[in-house]
Structures are given as C-alpha cells and as structure tokens.
C-alpha cells in the first residue's frame, strides 16, 4: 500500500487541525471499533459562509489526510457548496487513495454533513439535500481507561 505525495503531505502537515470553541456546527462520525473517528467543527457566518473549519481525527494516515483535505475544500464556501464536497472530490484532490482506504474519504464527507446538520438543526435552517447523518457517534459511550 502506497500513499500519494499529497496524502503524505496532508498527513505530515495537516491543515486546520484543532477545535473551534462555540462552533456553529460540530459533527463526529465513524467509530472506534473500526479504528476511524472524525470530528469537524464549522464556524459559519451570517451569510452562511464557512468562515473557519477545524478537524480532529483518530485514525490511520488516510483518515488524517482526508479530514485535512476536506477542511480545505469547504473553507470559504457557502453551506450549500460545502454540502457538494463529495468523497470523490476529496480523493481526487489527494491524487487518489489505496482501495482499502476509500472508506476514509466517505467518512470525511459524512463528517462535513454531520457538522452541517448540527448547524442547520441549531439554527432552524433546512439545507436541501442534507440528510440526518447515520453514523454520528457524539453520544458514544466512553470505554474504560487503561
């Protein structure tokens, strides 16, 4: 399995890694069982533009790189444009992913959707085409610590 230079670049120097306090929307997807969890924070201004975006990811190199790339693709976009960022777009922007890692890009797309859903719910807005995320794990149970 070999990663592209772009994947390695985003893994080594992740863009927009961190948290946003009082974010407009937060979405967490994936589960620890499969080994990938992504969380996206969105700061959305009054014109419904993604002013800032941050991510946190528990996962492999591809999971970190797809999260990082996804944040780059939605930053500065309207919420409607952000919704159009697909896993394919994330993958293409990274010059591809090994077949076993394609699910990471799906997770990145879902994380954005989950954050947008959180924003829409909090602000009573309906974003056409946006569906309630199925893999949101924000309510996940904490495992006992070792």
């Amino acid at each position: 399995m070999a990663y592209s230079e772009k994947v390695m670049d985003h893994f080594t120097n992740p863009r927009n890694m961190g948290e946003i306090e009082n974010a407009s929307g937060v979405g967490t997807v994936g589960n620890a069982k499969c080994g990938d969890i992504m969380r996206i924070y969105l700061d959305i201004d009054e014109n419904q533009i993604v002013r800032d975006v941050k991510f946190k990811t528990f996962g492999c190199g591809a999971a970190v790189a797809t999260s990082s790339m996804a944040t780059e693709l939605v930053k500065g976009k309207s919420i409607y444009e952000a919704l159009q960022v697909t896993n394919k777009a994330v993958m293409e922007a990274l010059d591809g992913l090994p077949p076993v890692k394609v699910h990471c890009s799906l997770l990145a797309e879902e994380a954005i959707h989950a954050a947008l859903w959180d924003y829409a719910t909090k602000h009573g807005i309906e974003i056409p085409g946006l569906q309630k995320p199925v893999t949101d794990i924000s309510e996940h149970e904490e495992e006992e610590e070792y």
């Binding site: 890694m17 069982k33 528990f58």
Partner: protein, 394 residues
C-alpha cells in the same frame, strides 16, 4: 540519528554477513544438485547433511528428524494436515489456541471444512494458555495438540513443557510452531515431549524462503509436496542448498550466543518497557511481563491509532509494527489482541517493537524520545483524547 533503527525483528531479520559468506559458494561454484552423483553434487549433499546435523543438534533431535521446507508456514501446514491425513482414521479432533499464527489457524479452519473438529483453547488476559484447559479439551478422538512456543505479537512464552507432558500422558501428538522461539530460547524436543516443531530461517538472521519441520522418528506423516525422493521421500523438490546452509550457519551463531543474546535483549527490552510505561501516560504493556520473548515489546496507547504511529515512526527512520486493522487491511484489529480481551480502540492503538541482539541502548532511547513526541502529537489530533480531557475537567 540518520541510520535506520530496525525494531521489527519479529517480522523478519537482517541476514548476517557470516551467513551470506557461508551461502555464497553454493551459488556459482558448488551449485550441484544434491541428488547428482558427481563431485559437486555430492558436495551439495554433504553440505545439506551437515546443515541437518547442525539444526538437529540445536534441538537435541536426531539428524534424520529434520526436514527442510520452504518456510515456517509450509512446516505448520505439513505438520497439521499431515497429521490429519495420517491419523484421521484414529480420530478427527485437534486442539489449538486462539492466538496461533494464521499459518496454524487458517490450516485448522481448512480442516474444519473437511470434517475435523477443532477446539480453540482461550488464553488469559496476559496471553498465556493454561495447561489444564488443554488437558480438559482432550477427547478420545483427539489426534493432535498444536500450540505455539511463543506468540509472535505479544511475545508470550507458552507453558510448552506442561503441555508436552499432558500430550504424552494422553497419547496425543504435540506440534509446536516455534517460529518466534527457535534459537531465541533453549529448546530440547525430548525434554519437552515435542513431536513436531516448525521453524523459519528469516526470524534468526538467515534468508527468507527456508524453514524446517522436526518430525519425531516413528511418526507416520506422509509427503506433503509430491515429486522426487528428496528429504527421505517426505518433501519433494530440489533442496535449496545455499539457503539451508545459511540457515544452519545462522542457527549455529545464534545458539553459540544464546545466553548472552537473551541477557542483552532482556535488559534492553525491560528498559524500553519501563521507559514507555513511566514516560507515556495512558499506555499499557500487552502480554506477560515475565513469560516473554527476550526481544518482544507490545504496547497500546490510548486515544490513538497504530498506522499513524507507524508512519510517523517511519519518518524518524524507525521500523515497528501494529495490530491495528488499518495495517492489516481489514476492519478488525489483531485476533491476538482481541483474544486477550482488549477493546477495539485499545487494540487499534497497539505498537510492537521487537529487538534483536544488534540493537543498542542508544537506538532504544532515541525511539522512546520520538515515540513520546508522536503519541503527544497524535493525541492532540484525536477527538477521543479531546473527549477524555473534557470529561476529566468536569
């Protein structure tokens, strides 16, 4: 540090220069087929038999009880399927453990599909098999017990002497996959009542592509690879003389320094374990601290994932391995880490660093220094750690 720090010796090892030197004459000069009657053929034959004698000596076995194979996996397949075929009329029950290498587990699953019943004896939270569980699993139709000498992932050394005694008492054949243990621990097949033993050259500084199976004299195991009359008609195929010579040389070197190597690696291993556990919070050692291969360490770091850790270590020139699903290309983490009861996310954050006698204290210290940075960096990136910290503050 600019040079490579290789801490994945349980995966494979560097071939020692002395081993290469011993092998070289058998490529361009003494290249004869060991079955040919002219002098260079007979020289190959002699080299082959000397190698067999050397290997037999390391195990307190008879020379004619050693059969060369292409790898450890072949030896495991042959021992298990060969026993099933030769003794299947006596019974169709085999006992193994749930932490065996896939070479054993998948072979047992293959037999399960062909009418055999397999009992997978569980291990405890340290990865140890309890001999009484093995004894309790024996039935009148049990023909084979196959339990690894030491685990490849968490380094646990199994109670082989006790299991061997149980097998002997009940008249059941006993095979052990000693791929991780051979030349790293002293093994006497007679004292331990081992009937069959698999080993692989590349785990002890011989090249890849050569291994052997010890078969106690009198066992009815038939040929597994069909063809010519090589290996006392039990393993056809022209002998890989150069690599067999290399394996014998590597075994000879390792056995001559066994105690010294064991002592050195154990000290280095315990230093590594102690530094990691005291300097990296939320870390744990997987496996047993005491019954452990001299070169094996296996840790779990909470809140982070193994592949990311390996990639960052690689950027520092450090080679390790992980039981994370991502590194295996599947969704489930290592079956061994699951068997000792680790939750999935703890198993995903596992790291195996396996030493050999050539590793130094300097390398180990540099690795721990890098690891501390890497774990901290990945935790800063982890939503699980964020949740944990927020929960602590509450």
């Amino acid at each position: 540090m600019n040079k490579l720090i290789y801490l994945d010796n349980a995966a494979t090892t560097a071939v020692k220069p002395e081993v290469v030197e011993a092998m070289l004459p058998y490529y361009c000069e003494k290249f004869g087929n060991a079955s040919s009657i002219y002098s260079i053929g007979q020289e190959s034959k002699e080299a082959l038999e000397n190698a067999r004698q050397t290997i037999a000596g390391t195990l307190n076995a008879k020379t004619e009880e050693i059969y060369f194979t292409g790898c450890g996996t072949e030896a495991d397949n042959w021992a298990i399927i060969g026993t099933a075929e030769a003794y299947g009329n006596k019974g169709k029950h085999i006992i193994t453990s749930n932490v065996e290498h896939h070479a054993v587990l998948h072979t047992c699953e293959y037999l399960e599909k062909r009418g055999f019943e397999i009992t997978y004896v569980p291990v405890d939270e340290k990865g140890l098999i309890h001999p009484e569980d093995v004894e309790a699993a024996i039935r009148p139709d049990t023909i084979l017990i196959t339990i690894m000498f030491a685990n490849n992932e968490i380094g646990t050394i199994m109670p082989i002497a006790e299991i061997g005694a149980i097998a002997k008492k009940h008249g059941v054949l006993f095979h052990t996959d000693a791929v991780q243990a051979f030349t790293h621990l002293p093994i006497d097949v007679n004292a331990l009542n081992i009937d069959m033993l698999s080993a692989s050259g590349h785990k002890f500084h011989a090249p890849k592509g050569v291994g052997f199976l010890y078969i106690r004299k009198g066992l009815k195991l038939k040929s597994f690879i069909h063809g010519g009359a090589q290996e006392r008609k039990r393993r056809a195929g022209t002998e890989n003389v150069a690599q067999i010579v290399g394996m014998a040389k590597a075994a000879e070197l390792a056995m001559a320094n066994l105690e010294e190597n064991e002592k050195k690696q154990t000290a280095l291993r315990d230093h590594l374990i102690s530094r990691v556990l005291t300097e990296i919070p939320h870390s744990r050692l997987n496996g047993d601290a005491e019954h452990r291969l001299p070169g094996n360490t296996n840790f779990s770091f909470q809140f982070i994932e193994g592949e990311s850790m390996l990639m960052m270590l690689d950027m520092k020139g450090i080679c390790g391995s992980s039981g994370s699903a991502c590194t295996a290309g599947s969704l489930d983490p290592s079956h061994v880490l699951m068997a000792i009861g680790l939750p999935h996310e703890i198993a995903h954050g596992s790291l195996r660093l396996s030493l050999c006698e050539d590793n130094t204290l300097e390398e180990v210290d540099y690795t721990v220094d890098c690891l501390k940075e890497i774990v901290a960096r990945l935790r800063a990136m982890s939503p699980l750690y964020e949740d944990f910290v927020k929960k602590q503050k509450k």
